[in-house]
Symmetry: none
DNA sequence: AGTTTTCATTAAGTTTTTTAATCCTTGCTT
DNA sequence: AAGCAAGGATTAAAAAACTTAATGAAAACT
C-alpha cells in the first residue's frame, strides 16, 4: 500500500481529504505543519507528498525546496487556494508534478496520484524473488533454486532476461522490448544471442514440466507457469 | 535538447504551438495524424509526446494505448478541447502525466513539460555524456572519445566504474560503495578485480596528463580533472 | 507444394571478467 | 629509522560469459 504524506493546516479540509484518500487504499499520514512534515520524513518512507502552500510558519514552497535538496526523489503535488499563474509557475519550477487548486475534485486528484505513482515506481519494479512453479528465482543473487534445494547459478544476461519474463509472465513479452532493455539499442543481430539465452533458460527450467517459454512467431515469448 | 512529439491535426494551432516549443529550446516534431505519429515513433527517439485527442481517424486515446503496449516508457500529455471529467479520468487511467484543456496557457504548459522531463529523466540517473579534460565519455555507447576523434571502446564494467567516478569527480569514491553498486554486495575478493579496472581506466585516460585517478589508502579513489 | 522467414539448439569463436603473480607503496610498530 | 604487514599497481593467465555461426525444424506466405 502506498504511503502518502499530506501537509494541510486546515482541520476540516485535511480531515476530509485524508479520509477520502484512505478510502481509496492509500496510507495517509497527515501533517499539520511543515515542521511536523519534516520530522515525519526523517522517520518514515513516503511514496508521494501532497503539500498545501499557505501555512502559518514554513510554507509549502520552502518545504519543497528542502525536499529537493535532501530527500531527492520524493514526488510531490502542490495543493493550494491560490490560483495565480505566478504561483503555479513557481510550483512547477520547484519540480512539482502538479499544482491543484482548491476546491479540488477528489476523483481527479486520485487519478493523478495513481498515474504519478505508476510512473515513479516503474523503474524500481524488480522484485527480490519470484516463485516459478517448483523454482524460486532470486534476481539479485543470480540464483535459481529448485524445490529440492539444488541451485543453478545464472549469468547477468540470463538473470536480466528471466526477470523480464517474470515481470510479464503469462503475457507476451515482445522481442523488441527485451532487446531494447537488455541489449540496449536493438541491432537486429543480438536477436540470435537472445535465442541462445532463451534456450538456456528452457534447459534450466525443464525440471518442472508445467513451466514453458513459448514463442509467438514474429512477436516474442510468453512465459507460462 | 529534448525531443518532443506533437500530435495535432489543427493546422494553425499545431503550427503556433510547435513554434512556441521550438523557441523554448525543445526539438519538436509535429505529426498531423496518429498514423504519422506511429511511423515517427518507430524511426526516432522521443522524450515526451503531446497528444491531441480528437482526430479524424485513430484518436489520441487509441494511440496512447498502443504506446503503452509497444513503446514502453514514453511519457505523454493529453491536449484537448474536451474538458469533460470523464475524458480526463480516462486520460489519467491510460497513464498520462497530464490532461490539458484548450485554450492552453503556453507558459504553464512549458513549465509542466520541464517538470515532467526532470522527473522522468531523473530515474535514468546516468548523464548521457561527460566531458573529462580532453575526452568525452558516452556511458550509453560504451565509448570514450579523445579530442582528436580517436575512440576507445569500453566494456560494461569499465563503463560502470567510470560513470561512478564521474558522478563523484573530485570527491572520494569509497571502494566499498563502488564494489556494492557495481559488483553487488560482494566478498572482499573482487577488490582485486576493481583494481584491474582502475588500471585500465588510467591507461585509457593517460593522454591527458591533467586527469588522474588517485588512491586514498584504505578508503577509495578520487577522480581528479 | 515450394519458398522464405523465424526459431531452437549445439558448437565454435570472441570478448570480458576474474584470479594469480610480482613488485611497489603506505603507514604502523618497536 | 628499519622492519613488517596490509593495501595498491600492473601485467599475464585462466575462467566465465557472451556472441556468432551452423544446422535443422516450424511457421507463415505465395
Amino acid at each position: 500500500m502506498k504511503q502518502i504524506l499530506l501537509l494541510e493546516d486546515d482541520q476540516s479540509f485535511g480531515y476530509i481529504l485524508s479520509e477520502y484518500l484512505n478510502m481509496q487504499d492509500f496510507q495517509v499520514t497527515w501533517a499539520k505543519s511543515a515542521e511536523e512534515a519534516l520530522k515525519l520524513l526523517q522517520k518514515q518512507h513516503f511514496d508521494l507528498a501532497i503539500l498545501d502552500i499557505m501555512l502559518p510558519k514554513m510554507n509549502g514552497f520552502e518545504l519543497a525546496e528542502i525536499l529537493k535538496r535532501e530527500n531527492e526523489d520524493l514526488p510531490f503535488i502542490f495543493l493550494s487556494a491560490r490560483s495565480l499563474k505566478i504561483d503555479k509557475l513557481k510550483g512547477f519550477k520547484l519540480g512539482a508534478y502538479d499544482y491543484v487548486t482548491k476546491p479540488i475534485d477528489e476523483e481527479l486528484l486520485v487519478a493523478k496520484i495513481r498515474a504519478l505513482l505508476t510512473l515513479t515506481q516503474k523503474k524500481v519494479t524488480t522484485q527480490s524473488s519470484y516463485t516459478i512453479g517448483k523454482y524460486d528465482f532470486f534476481p539479485a543473487l543470480l540464483k535459481l533454486v529448485f524445490q529440492d534445494g539444488s541451485e543453478i547459478r545464472l549469468t547477468a544476461r540470463e538473470t536480466a532476461l528471466l526477470s523480464m519474463l517474470c515481470q510479464h509472465h503469462n503475457q507476451l513479452l515482445l522481442r523488441k522490448k527485451a532487446l531494447k532493455e537488455i541489449w540496449g539499442i536493438q541491432d537486429e543481430f543480438s536477436r540470435k544471442s537472445m535465442d541462445v539465452f532463451i534456450s538456456h533458460l528452457r534447459k534450466y527450467l525443464s525440471k518442472d514440466p508445467s513451466i514453458s517459454i513459448e514463442n509467438v512467431h514474429g512477436k516474442g515469448f510468453i512465459f507460462k507457469y
